[in-house]
């Protein structure tokens, strides 16, 4: 986190944030399913200024063979940021942050998948961040989960995700870039809503135990709202076809 310019107020007297949102308000989220021809499943998510594309290939045979698991499929996840996705050009390819995020996203999606159905195969999830504005890993999880459903990979639940954080001494939902830069904590959470299972949880910041738990609960609420949008987006792909025809 950066040093905050003194004149910058992240919350005004009326409790509005710099982008005009209230404390517990999500940014605008749009989801599209099946946006790529080649992939077995794909989704595009715009979340605030985040623009994120996810694609799924597989289940397919893995090479090299020593990576195969005889009792189940393996899930591989690559989270990648485009060089032009941020203010200052990002050097192409995986940096340490991307490697860690890829790993925790894999851990967030894996509990939802029924990997035993496809022994010896891999299911590959590719997440490309085309524009980043804080919260790319939760938006990436949301997009990846939609792409997996679009690929017809059997899942116990859709995985949804959202972050909460702390700015100006207050907990807020879904930080944007300025809030992430100058705020004092970021808590991304992913859940499988049917059973309230937390599948991703990280914290970057400094919070009391009580504040942290409040932030987690807030993020879970946000994720549940996102979950409804995911369900609608998936259905819309098919319902649109009906309405086009009738």
């Amino acid at each position: 986190m950066m040093e905050k310019p003194e004149e910058l107020k992240l919350l005004d007297e009326k409790g509005y944030r710099i982008d005009g949102r209230k404390k517990y308000e999500l940014r605008k989220i749009d989801m599209k399913i099946g946006v790529l021809k080649n992939a077995n499943g794909s989704a595009y998510v715009e979340w605030g200024k985040n623009k994120i594309l996810a694609a799924v290939y597989g289940p397919r045979e893995i090479h090299p063979k020593h990576l195969q698991r005889s009792d189940r499929a393996i899930l591989r996840v690559r989270y990648n940021m485009a060089p032009f996705s941020v203010e200052e050009r990002k050097k192409p390819g995986p940096d340490r942050r991307s490697v860690e995020i890829s790993k925790v996203i894999r851990g967030a999606l894996e509990p939802a998948l029924i990997l035993e159905l496809f022994p010896r195969t891999s299911i590959d999830v590719f997440i490309e961040v085309l524009q980043a504005d804080a919260g790319t890993r939760v938006a990436g999880i949301v997009a990846a989960s939609l792409a997996l459903a679009d690929a017809g990979i059997p899942m116990k639940d859709l995985v949804s995700a959202c972050a909460a954080g702390k700015i100006e001494d207050e907990l807020v939902l879904d930080l944007n870039k300025e809030e992430d830069n100058y705020g004092s904590a970021d808590v991304p959470v992913a859940i499988m809503p049917i059973k309230n299972d937390i599948t991703l949880l990280q914290m970057d910041g400094y919070l009391t135990k009580e504040e942290f738990l409040e932030a987690v609960k807030l993020a879970i609420k946000g994720a549940k709202a996102v979950y409804q949008k995911q369900r609608e987006a998936l259905k819309e792909k098919y319902l649109n076809i009906i309405s086009e025809e009738e």
């Binding site: 040093e3 851990g107 509990p111 299972d197 135990k209 738990l213």
Partner: protein
């Protein structure tokens, strides 16, 4: 390997039904912890940690360089973890893999976010020259829970660190290292405590066999003020909110005990 793991899994789960673990510990028990500091003379600070049969060595090296442009009035700290092949048959030589990167970043966040090191005191010339603190974790023997061992080692090593005083000559622009030493300004002692989830059980400080069969893992880093400075759910599996609350409670209790071991190791020098 897989067959052994599945037999071991059944055995571990069977024991857990009675609240028991394969090494005889209770679910909330930490393994025996040994910490020694100043074990490497050439390093500005160092510590050796033995947690059960897991061993790590942490060395602190200090250098002088430019600050980050967005943080001109702060020193720099960086954390690196090497999983060297002598520590485990599963560690390969080569560039850091995802395990070592995640490990290093979780340890780093715990320290950085609690502002355990007063980085503002590491500035030599504002905006131009600052001290750079390298935390290098070398894993020597892997028997589970590397995050905690690395985090504990890092804090012990930082607390043992003595930096040579530096004089900056404004006219010549020269830096002179003095023969006088000062301790690294460490303000807090954040300690990571990890749990493995196996079925519906949370086990603190998992050993390697437990890690092999676990569904998921969570690490919670707390400091002496009761604040949390890093949380990481790792691997697969999932956690309930109640489990998280329980883990936070146990983590901060165990962290208090660990902190004492760390402080004792400094007094023993």
């Amino acid at each position: 390997m897989e067959v052994v793991a599945s037999i071991m899994k059944d055995y571990i789960i069977e024991l857990l039904k009675d609240g028991k673990r394969i090494d005889g510990r209770g679910l909330e028990d930490y393994r025996e912890l040994e910490v020694k500091t100043n074990v490497i003379e050439k390093a500005e600070g160092s510590a050796w940690v033995k947690l059960g049969n897991t061993q790590v060595m942490v060395g602190i090296k200090a250098d002088v360089g430019e600050p980050f442009p967005d943080l001109p009035n702060m020193g720099v700290m960086t954390t690196n973890v090497e999983l060297v092949p002598l520590a485990s048959p599963t560690f390969e030589p080569g560039p850091p893999d995802e395990r070592s990167i995640e490990l290093a970043r979780v340890v780093d966040r715990g320290i950085r976010e609690s502002q355990a090191i007063d980085l503002e005191k590491l500035v030599i010339v504002p905006g131009k020259l600052v001290r750079i603190i390298f935390i290098d974790v070398h894993v020597l023997d892997h028997d589970g829970n590397l995050v905690d061992a690395a985090g504990i080692g890092a804090m012990a090593a930082l607390l043992s660190t003595k930096l040579p005083k530096i004089e900056y000559n404004e006219e010549t622009g020269e830096l002179v290292k003095l023969d006088e030493y000062e301790p690294l300004p460490v303000r807090k002692i954040p300690i990571p405590v990890s749990f493995a989830k196996i079925r519906d059980n949370l086990l603190v400080d998992p050993n390697l066999e437990e890690e092999h069969v676990m569904d998921g893992k969570i690490t919670i880093t707390t400091d002496e003020n009761g604040y949390i400075s890093a949380v990481q759910k790792s691997e697969g599996g999932s956690f309930k909110l109640e489990e998280l609350m329980y883990a936070i409670d146990i983590a901060s209790k165990r962290a208090g005990e660990i902190r004492k071991v760390v402080l004792d190791s400094l007094n023993k020098e």
